[in-house]
Amino acid sequence: MANAALEHGAVEHGLSGVYEAPLFGAYSKKVGMWLFLASDSLTFGALLFAFSYNRISTQGWPTPFGKDSIANATIMTACLLSSSLTMVLGVFAAQRRDRAWTRNWLLATMVFGTAFIVLHGMEWSKLISEGLTLPGFPKPAGQAGEFAAVSAAVPQFPATFFGLTAMHMLHVTIGVIYLGVVAFRKWFLPVLGVIWIAGYFLIPSDNVFHYGIHALGLGLLVSAVILFLKPKDYDAHDVEVAGLYWHFVDLVWMFIFPLVYLMSTRI
């Protein structure tokens, strides 16, 4: 019994293979994350296929992305690519058992991810204010913009554009929360709560993110339950698995950026 407890403790602290035979030569958490990412790639694949299918089968497909939008999306791409590099450096620091630099690199990754979300939110708000909306969105103040006719004539465009990019934005948001929990554990929860409440009161009610910010509240609830049920000190394996998820959201954007933005330029 004592040996069992000792061995169980060894597994918990990341020592290799006491209880679990390695599957595919990797520890089970990593294999589990790879399998999740394989299934999630099919979700994004279906959304990208839906976008491309509608684009091929619809005449008069709009090209709403001017120079400003392309410049904005290029900066967003650079943010995600840079965040992947800082994530790799965070994994290296975790494997060196350097806690301070692990936290620093994860924080840098979160900053790049947050910059991506903010820039994407600004892009969405601009398009919505110009009339590119869906029926469920709050009505923007002022007159209908130049894309109001597009929303009425080709509703497939806003439906597939907002559906695909919202799904990706949600994944980036979950990724930032995931990294925050791994880096700061329970101390991240109050920060997340403050951002959620502040966002709700500071974002105008005619902006779609006034409601979208509740994703942070849901993230706060889920993170709190996970940290309550299994409080632990996250090790190098946890950081590596979190990194796999983060690189995946970067990977998906490598297809969204050319297919959605660069193929619909108005230059």
């Binding site: 091929i56 089968s57 060196r96 690189h247 230059i267």
Partner: protein
């Protein structure tokens, strides 16, 4: 399985390759943007070129940043064949129909 300590010892000295991968990803992104700005190709050819560049970028991310290049051959092949196989099935379901609708001009 990589133990955290031995992993760091074997891979920490090759950190530079990740900066190279990051640099190449930025360069390929810049190439995509220039192609789109200059409208170098017709739309269908542009789609093909952008997709090839995206596949190259995703291979760099999966291989190096996600570290699949350094996993066992069994894991590499199982993941890649399963996901690519599913995408091929999706392609054959969706795109012949989209092209047919376009040729028929049903609008």
């Amino acid at each position: 399985m990589h133990d955290a300590g031995t992993y760091a010892a074997t891979h920490d000295d090759s950190k530079g390759q990740y900066f190279w991968v990051w640099g190449w990803l930025l360069v390929l992104t810049a190439v995509e943007v220039v192609l789109a700005y200059r409208q170098v190709f017709q739309p269908v050819r542009m789609l093909e070129v952008l997709l090839v560049l995206s596949i190259v970028k995703s291979a760099l991310i999966i291989g190096y940043f996600m570290h699949l290049k350094f996993e066992t051959a069994l894991m590499r092949w199982m993941l890649v064949t399963a996901v690519v196989g599913c995408f091929i099935i999706m392609y054959f379901f969706f795109f012949p129909d989209a092209g047919r609708i376009l040729r028929l001009g049903v609008h």
